[in-house]
């Protein structure tokens, strides 16, 4: 007797159909009688619609790439958009563009969701009703004519040809322009202007810094140029790059997205961070015998008094000053949210940079951030005051939401109500698209032409990659239309300096006024003319022929001549910056706010990826939370599931809370980004802490966010939104390793972590002369593998977001997220280890480990998962019946189960990757090492000859996560080839297999993080120093979901 597997399955199928027929799905949609697919395998007909006229560059089924620009922040990265049959399905870094270096951040990846958002305006609107573009341009243009002197522009920083066009149309004696970045570098700009008389900002080159000191700046997440800083920081830590391992020091009241990377955390009393910077300057100046002009600023500083005031011991200050004096360093001032007087802090930090000799080395003028002419928050406040006073007749708001982004101390809504003609350029509803306003949707970056010169010697062009999905019109085209109706002079003014003289006290900022005629037929021809005049001609007409130069520029995504090393400007003698005002209020805790690494100030809140990918430090999603020190939480009697009420200035918000060991006990910090009153369907979560703050600005014009004392109390309500990671630490287990810098290059096996680690079983067996029972399977050509250098990883979350984009991973929403049904294939594990002064936070991206001897495979009853010829742990979705045995048996919890058929609004389906199946309810899914990409590249090389295999160099950044990683921490490749990067990483002494003792033979190796804690070997192993104790089996398990 025998029953083969097929008979068994048939029997199951019949039984299943019988059961299904008798059940009620309780669904609003009538479900037809179930069909037996074995007997009646009918599916609907599909149509195939060919082009009427096919572009010769379009090959259906093959993706095209278009170099364009990322506009999610103001850093100025270039990106490459992947196009399939005319729609952009993905954006990735542009390797030819130097800022991004071919990488991209999480915000950049999620940017594509703005284009396909279901909440977009489908056309222009007037007072909430649809209107036509003609009517809009005629009416607004007419209003402009009668409002000379009463016209104002409040918008995001625009550079390049668009910035020039805005200046040309609105600056030419017509009105005033305030280009403003909420949470922007106002303070740093004021400091640099005061010290060097330079209007632009220097750039930070972290790769050469032996010590990176940040006074709160989240430089890998939201500060100035995060992608570039991530790469630089990772290079500085990598002993293979500069031959040294940099030390990261944070001098701040809380540790944020970048703060958790700190080796040393010095937490000064509020307001004392400025004194700390000056005291350090004094100490370093003594060591380096610095006697330059900046010495006047710290002449009277007494480091001993600062130590007392700040609560940081004199020895720590002395030690830090020693590091700074010895080697090149890079010191970063915090942004406006990190200090009660951001301008004083920025000034003190830049003086410290000068004293340390960093100017011209790690902090460079030359390739500056071009922010000259942009408005400070104070200027925006003045502009809004004028609006409230009725002085502004026509106000344009460009891609900003001032009602949401400014504290309630400024009544933006009332100010906007006083404006006669309010024109808001926005693709989606926000709090500033008030009733009565004209709302003109300008389209998204992939739908329109544009450009940016965010840096000197760096011109990015934004090519239109696809046709607009809706009836939108590019901002430049709207402006040119308005210029024609309003009769803006067609020629640029002969002498812009005099014709455009403006009152410096007012919020009027003459932008770059020069440019081609406003007679240009459309914005694209304006843009080309501007590039010809301002880029091609001013750089010596490269190539001699503009048209061919322009084509190559478009291919490269821009023109990047760079700048010659400029001598550092001379610093002006300054007095010691004093700190204005301490936080006031009747509460016990100083309130801070901080930018969300994905939502930033809230502008990305309507992107489901930005909301759902767990914030790396807290692992929270779809919510607002307050960071509270565990000791404070204990005092307040908070438990894990409590929510808290934060109140100040007569307002209160209810939020979740996160126990952060990196925050001062007397400070509570609330994340920005959520709690919109008006916005898309994904913005209705959490609360907006701006409601608690007053609107004071400091003398540099920067917003002073840290001015409020408030109270915090338990609400008594239970939170519904649970974190993704159930545990804060490793619970004494050996999952994420660190190795001391002291152990690198010593002993038989330099930097090896193996003394602290159970070696893989097979290694022990081999040593004992026995044979492994589970030999490595035969991989004739490829053994696809990945190495993740935890020493480079910044925990930014770009890999997770890129994986969502590449692999059609569903968005489950807050309700399902709370049930631990997040579907992301990469889990960014985060462990807060140790009880020392500095929390030892370790990140670890965990994806399917592609084991050669995988525990999941043996338990699959239907062979839906198996080890394939290329070393992949294959997962065949249409074979899966959803027993979930595999997920139960996976020691890495790398598998995700579809508890529902998750869907999203239809518009998002346009960005699905057609090379990856979408999965339905009841199917297990997991990381496949982007099998569609390996398949595609093998296919591409096979075109050269049937037996041609993929060279290992072509594989290094193949997977979506490795391609995105801003820190280049992930390397993919063929481990069969010893010369491949991945094989060389595998051979590193720092490399280890996660849970290697299980003998799963994973295809992923992690390279242990290097820290600066003295050799662990002398202290009896890392378990005692960095784990939370011995390996206690009772504590293990249940860590992750």
């Amino acid at each position: 007797m025998s029953i083969d597997r097929r008979d068994f399955l048939k029997a199951l199928g019949v039984a299943g159909a019988a059961t299904a027929a008798g059940c009620d799905y309780n669904s609003p949609v009538p479900i037809p009688a179930p069909l037996n697919f074995l007997e009646d395998p009918y599916v609907p007909y599909e149509k195939v619609l060919p082009y009427v006229v096919q572009d010769e560059q379009v090959v259906t089924g093959v993706r095209n790439h278009i170099a364009t620009r990322c506009d999610e922040c103001s850093a100025g990265c270039g990106v490459v958009a992947s196009l399939r049959e005319g729609r952009v399905t993905q954006v990735e870094g542009n390797a030819r563009e130097p800022i991004s270096g071919g990488n991209i951040c999480a915000k950049g990846v999620a940017g594509i969701q703005a284009t396909y958002s279901p909440d977009r305006f489908t056309g222009p609107r007037r007072a909430g009703q649809p209107t036509t573009w003609d009517e809009a341009i005629q009416t607004i243009g007419g209003a402009l004519k009668g409002a000379v002197g009463g016209i104002a522009w409040l918008g995001r920083p625009r550079t390049g040809s668009l910035g020039a066009l805005i200046g040309r149309v609105l600056g030419a004696g017509w009105g005033r322009i305030a280009m403003w970045e909420p949470l922007g570098p106002d303070a740093l700009r004021a400091a640099v202007r005061a010290l060097w008389g330079v209007e632009n900002l220097p750039t930070w080159h972290l790769a050469a810094a032996h010590t990176v000191v940040s006074f709160g700046a989240d430089f890998t997440a939201s500060w100035l140029s995060p992608v570039e800083h991530s790469r630089g920081w990772a290079d500085s830590r990598d002993p293979a790059k500069g031959g040294f391992v940099s030390r990261t020091v944070f001098v701040s009241q809380r540790l944020g997205s970048s703060g958790v990377l700190a080796d040393v955390h010095l937490s000064p009393q509020l307001g004392a961070e400025v004194d700390v910077a000056l005291a350090l300057a004094k100490l370093v100046a003594t060591k380096r015998s610095y006697t330059g002009p900046a010495a006047s600023a710290f002449a009277s500083v007494d480091p001993a008094a600062v130590a007392t005031k700040s609560g940081i011991s004199a020895e720590r200050l002395e030690e830090l000053a020693g590091w700074l004096a010895e080697h090149p360093s890079a010191i970063l001032p915090g942004s406006a949210t990190d200090s009660s007087d951001p301008t004083a802090l920025a000034t003190a930090v830049m003086i410290l940079n000068e004293v340390c000799g960093n100017i011209g080395k790690t902090v460079r003028f030359g390739d500056e951030h071009r922010v000259a002419g942009f408005a400070s928050t104070e200027q925006v406040r003045l502009l809004l005051e004028d609006c409230a006073a009725g002085k502004v007749k026509v106000l344009f708001i460009d891609d900003l939401d001032p009602v949401f982004n400014l504290p309630t101390g400024i009544d933006v809504a009332a100010a906007l109500a006083k404006v006669e003609t309010l024109v808001v350029f926005a693709n989606e509803e926000n709090e500033s698209t008030v009733d009565g306003a004209w709302v003109l949707p300008p389209g998204t970056t992939v739908e329109t032409w544009g450009d940016a010169t965010a840096r000197t010697g760096h011109y990015v062009v934004q090519q239109q990659a696809m046709r607009p999905l809706h009836d939108t019109r590019a901002l430049g085209d709207i402006l040119l239309g308005l210029a024609k109706v309003a009769g803006v002079p067609t020629r640029p003014p002969a002498d812009p300096a005099t014709e455009l003289a403006v009152d410096p006290a007012a919020a009027v900022q003459p932008a770059a006024i020069m440019g081609p005629d406003v007679d240009a037929p459309d914005y694209k021809s304006w843009l080309v003319a501007w590039w010809r005049a301002e880029v091609w001609a001013t750089h010596g007409q490269p190539g001699g022929d503009f048209d061919s130069w322009w084509v190559s520029t478009l291919k490269d995504g821009g023109f990047f001549p760079g700048v010659a090393e400029a001598p550092a400007p001379a610093i002006a003698p300054v007095a010691a910056p004093t700190v204005d005002g301490a936080p006031a209020g009747d509460g016990a805790y100083t309130l801070m706010v901080f930018a969300h690494p994905f939502l930033h100030d809230g502008r990305h809140a309507n992107k489901p990826w930005a909301q759902e990918v767990p914030e790396p430090v807290s692992s929270y999603a779809w919510t607002t939370w307050a960071e509270i020190h565990p000791s404070t939480a204990e005092k307040l009697g908070l438990t894990k599931t409590d929510t808290v009420k934060v109140s100040a200035n007569g307002a209160e918000i209810e939020v979740d809370w996160f126990p952060s060991k990196g925050i001062r006990p007397d400070v509570v910090a609330v994340v920005l980004g959520n709690g919109k009153k008006k916005g898309g369907r994904y913005t209705r979560y959490g609360a907006n802490p701006m409601r608690l703050l007053t609107a004071a600005t400091d003398r540099g014009g920067a917003m002073r966010f840290v001015t409020t004392k408030g109270s915090v109390a338990k609400t008594g309500k239970e939170r519904t939104n649970l974190p993704y990671l159930g545990s804060l630490d490793q619970q004494g287990r050996y999952i994420n390793y660190v190795v001391s810098k002291d152990d690198l290059g010593t002993g038989d096996k330099p930097g090896s972590i193996l003394p602290h680690h159970h070696p893989p079983v097979d290694e022990r067996l081999t040593k004992a002369g026995l044979n492994d029972m589970f030999p490595e399977p035969n991989h004739p050509t490829y053994r696809f593998a990945m190495a993740v250098d935890l020493n480079r990883c910044t925990g930014c979350g770009a890999c997770m977001t890129a994986c969502h984009s590449e692999n059609n991973i569903p968005v489950v929403g807050p309700e399902q997220f709370a049930k631990s049904r997040y579907m992301g294939w990469i889990r960014l594990s985060r462990y807060w280890e140790g009880d020392g002064e500095t929390p030892d936070v370790r990140f670890q991206p965990v994806m399917c480990q592609q084991c050669s001897h995988a525990p999941c495979e043996g338990v699959c009853p239907v062979l839906a998962t198996y080890h394939n010829i290329d070393g992949l742990n294959a997962m065949i979705y249409n074979r899966c019946v959803g027993t979930r045995y595999c997920a139960n048996n996976c020691p890495y919890t790398a598998r995700r189960f579809n508890f529902h058929t998750y869907r999203w609004p239809d518009s998002f389906n346009l960005m699905l990757n057609p090379e990856v199946s979408t999965r339905d309810m009841g199917v297990m899914e997991k990381c496949t090492f982007c099998v569609q990409r390996t398949r595609e590249i093998k296919d591409r090389y096979r075109d050269q000859g049937f037996t041609v295999t993929v060279p290992h160099e072509a594989l290094d950044e193949l997977t979506a996560c490795a391609k995105a990683c801003p820190a280049d921490a992930m390397v993919f490749g063929n481990a069969k080839v010893p010369e491949s990067t991945v094989a060389r990483q595998f051979a590193e002494p720092r490399a280890y297999a996660m849970l290697g003792e299980l003998n799963n033979k994973p295809g992923v190796r992690y390279l242990a993080r290097i820290n600066h804690i003295p050799s662990l070997a002398h202290h009896g192993g890392q378990g005692e120093d960095h784990g939370t104790g011995s390996h206690d089996p009772a504590k293990s398990g249940g860590d992750h979901h």
Binding site: S27, P28, A33, L49, V52, T60, G61, F946, T947
Partner: protein, 218 residues
């Protein structure tokens, strides 16, 4: 005895699965979340509507004629007129798709072909003049979880007719002659002579690769 054993062996998993399904359904009901415009959840959307027209995977029906917007004849074009397949299906060597030609390709010839009193040609002209895509109905439709690459097959020397049948000789309207099911695909993957011709000494390795699920499943 053996009969009883067999019955038991069959009955046990069947009973177990019935129990599991009942439990599962109650689970789904209890868990059924509220309808939400941001997160629409479908409990099941695999089942086709019985009133719709359907094509069968894995079944070849010689009488099945799919109604197309234009009664295009492969027999005439590829047979009588002897136009090469790749004249229209230009992407067969470049892409996963062979490519249904853009209307422009049709009009390349049909601009000079007299359409008077030929209703099918008038339909074509109509689509062209309206700038409308011709809504052809797929004859060879693979499930969405299957990756099939025309380029790989055509460049390996697999003839179009091996899968698509004798379109030149017999098909006034394109018909499916192959089942396109997995066994049918694997039959060639195991035995097709082009593997030996192209891969020589590595033919065995290639055949092993071609049997890997990830070759075709995505």
């Amino acid at each position: 005895m053996s009969q009883l054993k067999r019955t038991l062996m069959l009955a046990t998993p069947v009973l177990a699965s019935v129990c599991a399904m009942v439990l599962w359904n109650s689970q789904v009901q209890a868990d059924s979340p509220a309808e939400d415009e941001a997160f629409p959840l479908a409990t099941h959307d695999l089942l086709p509507h019985p009133s719709g027209r359907h094509v069968a995977f894995g079944r070849v029906d010689p009488n099945e004629i799919i109604e197309q917007p234009i009664q295009y004849s492969h027999m005439l074009h590829a047979g009588t007129l002897n136009i090469q397949c790749e004249y229209c299906h230009t992407m067969a060597r470049k892409s996963i798709h062979a490519g249904v030609p853009p209307t422009e390709t049709c009009m390349g010839c049909h601009k000079v072909v007299d359409a008077t009193d030929r209703p099918e040609l008038e339909k074509l002209k109509g689509y062209w003049e309206r700038g409308e895509e011709i809504p052809w109905v797929k004859v060879h439709d693979l499930p969405d979880f299957v990756y099939f690459n025309h380029k790989r097959h055509v460049t390996a020397g697999v003839q179009c007719e091996e899968c698509h049948g004798q379109v030149k000789e017999t098909m006034t309207v394109a018909q499916r002659v192959s089942s396109l099911n997995m066994g049918w695909c694997l039959e060639c993957h195991k035995t097709h002579p082009s593997v030996d011709e192209n891969y020589g000494a590595q033919a065995e390795l290639r055949r092993a690769e071609m049997k890997d699920c990830y070759t075709c499943h995505k």
